[in-house]
Symmetry: D2
Subunit: 323 residues, 4 copies
C-alpha cells in the first residue's frame, strides 16, 4: 500500500493523476470514459449469469425522508400531487364518463438519492475528463459534452458485489473512517471466490454496510459525514482493473473523513476527470448481499441506466440486478 | 372486432370492465396487477434472448425541449445547475487542492417524458385497482398503496416489439386517429414471425411511428393531440394475453381522438383500474425497430425499472433493451 | 384570563369558535374575512403616519439557509440560476452585440419564509372560512374560493408594533413556551402609549424576540419547535379588536408547545376558519422595533401585499413599513 | 430624436453607455443604482398623495395560465398542493382535535410574471453595474453583490402613471413595434397634467396597452414577441430624468422587434449595467389607468418591494398603488 503524505493532497492527486490518466485513450472526442470497457461481449457474459431469474432493485427511496440536509442546496426530493384520488372521488376533475386520475411532479437534486456521477461532475484544477476545460464542458446550460444522456444506453453488463463490510466489518458493517484499500478489495474477492473476480468492463458494487447502519440508527450524518469508503490509494487499482464503473452504499464513495489533513473527495478528483470512471453513490446492496451470501454467487446481470436528463452531470437510477 | 356505440363511452367502459376485471385475482392486498405475470421463469427466458450483447435505450430525452405544453400543469422538465465548470474554473467554489464540481437539480412532472403509469394513475368512478376507493389510495401525500416503488424491482423480462407502424403504415408511420385493433396486433405478430409471439408475462412494445413523425415535423400536438394508438376494443386482447405491461411511442397509449363522441382515454379507465395493467408512454422504439427489422429478431431482454419515487402514480424510466 | 382545560382542546376550540365566529358577517360569498375591516379611511390614516419617510422591510430572507427542515415537505427555498455572469463573460449565451444576462428560478413552499396565511390554510372539522366545506374550497387545483389573490390588493394600512418581547422579556426576548395573553397585549399597548393603540382595521405586529434569538443562536427548532406566541385565550381579544390582520416574528404565531396536553395549533383552528383572520408568520420586526423604541412612535404605514399566486393558501410577502 | 444606425447596435450601445453612465456616481461599492434617487423626502411626497385611500394591485397573476412558453427555460409558475381541504375532510392528515390544513409549494422562474429586474440581470460585454466583472457578481450561487435583497426595503415612493397607450394609441393600445420615444413620454406628461410630472426619484409606470390586448386576444406572443415599448433612443431621457425605476405592462420593456437589424434588448444593455436603472416588467396598469383617467390624478403612493430572494437577479413583486 502506497503511503500518503497527509499534508499534501494536491501533490498526491497530481501524482495519481499522472500515473492513472486515461486522457486520449479513446480519442480526443471520447465522452464515455471507462464505459468503453463495457462491450457487447461483456453484456453477453452478464446475461449468461441469469440462472434463477430473480430481480432485485439496488435503489434507495426517492422521497422527503432521505438523508439530504441542504448542503450546497442538495435537498431531499419533494414529490407533490397535481391530482389525487380524493379529487377524483369528489368529481372535481372535469373528465367525462367517470374517468378520474392522479398525477404528480417532483423537484430534486439529481444526486439526492441512488445515482451515477457523470463525467462532468468533478474537475481537477479546472480540467474535465479527457483534458477539456471545465467551462467548455459544463455551463449554466448543463454539460454539453459529457451529459449523462451520452451514457444512457450503455450501462448494462456484468455486475459483481464485493461485500467488504461482510469480509472486514462487524456484523457486516465497516466503521466510519475505514479506508478500503486495494488489499481489502483483493482479499474480499479471494474470500468470495471465482464468481467475485473483477476484470475489464465489470460494474463493481462495493458494500460497506454504511447504509445498513443508517437504516438502523437514522440518517444522522450519512450525507457528507464520516463513513467507510474507498481509500485514495485505490486509484491505481481502479485504473489497472479496467472496470467500467463502481458503486457504493455510501454518500460519497470515498472514505470520510478523507485521508489528508485538509481535503475534500480527492479520489473523485483523480478518477472522474483523469480515469473517466463512472461512480455510483447511495446504492442499496443489502438485499443483494443477503442473496449472494445465501447462494454463494456474487456476480449477476446488472442494468443501471441513468435517467437521460439532457446535460446532467449526474442522474438518478434504479439499478436492477438479475441473478 | 367488437362494434362501439360512439354515444355511450360509459356503457362501453362498464361492459369491458366487467368482462376483463382482474380484481381479486391475486388477493385483496395485491399491488402488482399484471406484473404478477412476470415471474422468474420469464426473466430467464428474457435473459436467454441476449445473443449479440447490443444494448439500446428506449427513452426519449428529459429536457425543456420536450412535447409538454402545460396541460394540467404538465410542463417539460426544467433542469438547472447548482454548480458549473465555469464556477470551478473561476475558483469560486471554495474547495481545497484544486477540486471543482458541477451539480444539478430538476423539476419535472413524473409523466413528462418516457414513463410507466402506476396503478394509482387512473380511476373508474372513484375506484382504483383491485376495488379500492381512489381516495383511500392516492391523497396529497401520494399513493400510499400502489406507489410506483412497489413495482420498482420487477420490470425486467422478455420484451417484444410489435412494429404496427411498419406493418400497416406508410413509411413506417400510422396516421393520427388510426385505431390499432386486436387484428392489427395479431397480424403484426404473424408478419414478424416466431420471435414476435406474445404471451403471459411479456412486456409488449407497440411502435406506431408517431414519435418518428414528431421528430421530423416538430412536437406540434404530440402531447394530448391526435395520434394513432390502441383501440378501445383491444381491452379484451390485453386481458386475454396476460401480458405484464405494454408501452407505445405515443403520448397517451390510446388512439386520439378517442373512439367515442365525447370521451377521454376510456381504455385507460378499463385497463389500469380493472386489469391492473402497466402502461408505458412516450417510449422511443425507432432505433430498436431498425435493429429488429435488420436481424429479423423482435424479442429481447428488457429492463425498464421506474425510478422508485415513493408514492408516485407514474415514474420516469430509461428502458434498456439488450439483444 | 379564561382558564383552559388542558385535557380538552376540542371543547375549547368549539367554545371559542362559537363565541368568536364571524361567519356570515360579510355575506355568504365573502372571501376577505377580517380584511373587510381595512377600509379606505384606514389607509388614509396609515398614510398620514408617514413623517420621516423611512422605509423598513419586515421580511426574512428567502434562501436555502432558512429555518425549514422538511416537516410535511416544507423545505427552505432552493434558488438556482438559469444563466450567470460567468456564462456571459465566457460568451456562451448566444446573444448579439455584447449583451449578456443572468436569470433564475426558485422552488419553495409558499410558507417557507415571511408569509401570510390565506383563509384556505386551516380548517375546523372539515369546515373552512364562512362555513364552507374544506373540500369545496381547496382541492389539488388550489383554493378556488379564498385563494390568496383575492387579498392581493387590500393589505396596505395602519400597522402597529407591539413589542411584547421588550415589555415582558429579558433583553427583549420572551422565553419559549411563553403564552402572550390579552393582558400582555393590553399592557404593552399601555406602556408604549397612544401610537400603539389597536383598533378596527389595524394590522398588528407582535414582536416576541424569538427571531432575534434564532439569529443569535442558529435556527435550531425555530420551525415547529418551542416558541413564545399568542395564547389560545387571545381568541376573544382578537375577535373583539376587529383588527384586519396580525403577524409575529415566530414560525407559528401561537405559543409552542400549545397550551393543551395534546394539541396542534388550536388558535389557528379558531381564528382562521371562524374569525376569518389573516395571520402573518416569520416576519422580522427587529429593525422596526429598534426604530420605534428610538423615536417612541409605534405605528406606521404598512404595505404587505402577498404575491398573488392563484389559488394559494398562503403566500410570501415582503412587508414594508414606512414611518 | 436621435437617429439610429440600424446596422450598428454595438456602436449605438457603446455611445449611449458613454453618454449615460452612472458608474462611480454613488461610490465604488454601490449596489442600489438609481434607487439612490429615491430618498425619504420622496417617500414623504409619495405618502402625501394618498387622498382617497383606495389601493390597487399592479400585479398580473402567478399561475400556469401565464404567457411563458419555455424560452430559455422560462416556464409559467407551477403551483402544487402539499395538503388540501379534501384531505382534511377525509381525515388523513393525522392532526388532533379536528384541525385540518392546506399547504402549497411553487416552482417558478423569478421573472415569470410581474417582476423587477435586478442590477445583476443584464451585462454589457461581460461588465455589470458600476464597472464590475459579470462573473464577479453573478455565479451559480447567485448575485453575491447586487442580489435583489439589497433593494428590498427601498422601493416605496411616488409613482406616476404615463398612459402612452391612451395618449397615442387606438382605444388605449399601441400597436406592436411602436417605439415610445422621449417625445411621446413628454407629450403624455403634458397631456396628463401636473400630477404626471416626472422627476428625480420617481417610479414611472408606462402603460402601452399591450397587456389589455393580450387579455382580450390571448397571450399569443406576449412573451418575447412583437410589442410596443420604450425606444432605444430614450436612454438619454431615462438618464436625465433621474428616476428611481420604470415599469411597463409588456414582457420586455423595450419595443419589439428591437430597432436594429439584428439585436436583442439593446436598451437593457445600456440602462441596467450603465445607468443602474431598475426596470419592472409585466405589470398590470389597466385598473389604475381607468382610475387615474376618472379622477385626473396620475400620481400615487407606490410600494413595490420585491420578494427578497437572496442573490436573485430579478424578483416577483405585487406592487400596490394607493391613491
Amino acid at each position: 500500500m502506497r503511503e500518503l503524505d497527509r499534508a499534501d493532497p494536491a501533490g498526491a492527486v497530481a501524482a495519481a493523476a499522472k500515473r492513472c490518466s486515461n486522457w486520449g485513450r479513446w480519442g480526443a472526442d471520447d465522452v464515455l470514459g471507462t464505459l468503453n470497457f463495457l462491450d457487447d461481449a461483456k453484456r453477453r457474459e452478464g446475461a449468461a449469469l441469469v440462472r434463477r431469474g430473480a430481480s432485485l432493485s439496488l435503489a434507495q427511496s426517492f422521497d422527503a425522508n432521505g438523508p439530504q440536509h441542504g448542503w450546497r442546496r442538495r435537498t431531499n426530493p419533494v414529490h407533490t400531487m397535481l391530482d389525487t384520488g380524493l379529487d377524483a372521488e369528489r368529481g372535481v376533475q372535469g373528465f367525462p364518463h367517470g374517468i378520474g386520475g392522479a398525477d404528480d411532479v417532483i423537484f430534486m437534486p439529481l444526486q439526492a438519492s441512488t445515482q451515477w456521477d457523470g463525467l462532468g461532475h468533478i474537475f481537477d484544477h479546472g480540467m474535465a475528463w479527457n483534458g477539456r476545460r471545465a467551462g467548455d464542458v459544463v455551463t449554466s446550460l448543463g454539460d454539453s459534452v459529457t451529459g449523462i444522456e451520452t451514457a444512457a444506453a450503455h450501462i448494462a453488463g456484468r455486475g459483481v458485489l464485493l461485500d467488504v463490510g461482510r469480509a472486514f466489518g462487524v456484523d457486516g458493517e465497516l466503521p466510519d473512517g475505514f479506508p478500503i484499500t486495494a488489499e481489502h478489495l483483493d482479499e474480499t474477492i479471494a474470500a468470495q471466490g471465482e464468481s467475485a473476480r473483477v476484470g475489464r468492463g465489470d460494474l463493481v458494487c462495493v458494500r460497506t454496510g454504511r447504509l445498513a447502519r443508517a437504516r438502523r440508527e437514522g440518517w444522522g450524518e450519512y450525507a457528507g459525514g464520516p463513513s467507510p469508503g474507498l481509500s485514495f490509494t485505490t486509484a491505481d487499482w481502479l485504473h489497472a482493473a479496467e472496470i467500467a464503473g463502481i458503486a457504493t452504499d455510501t454518500w460519497g464513495f470515498e472514505v470520510r473523513p478523507n485521508e489528508f489533513d485538509e481535503a475534500f473527495q480527492p479520489l473523485h478528483q483523480v478518477v472522474i476527470p483523469h480515469l473517466g470512471l463512472f461512480i455510483g453513490e447511495m446504492w442499496d446492496f443489502d438485499a443483494l448481499a443477503a442473496d449472494c451470501a445465501a447462494d454463494g454467487v456474487w456476480d449477476f446481470f446488472l442494468t443501471a441506466a441513468p435517467l437521460p436528463v439532457t446535460g446532467a452531470v449526474g442522474a438518478p437510477v434504479n439499478p436492477i440486478a438479475v441473478k
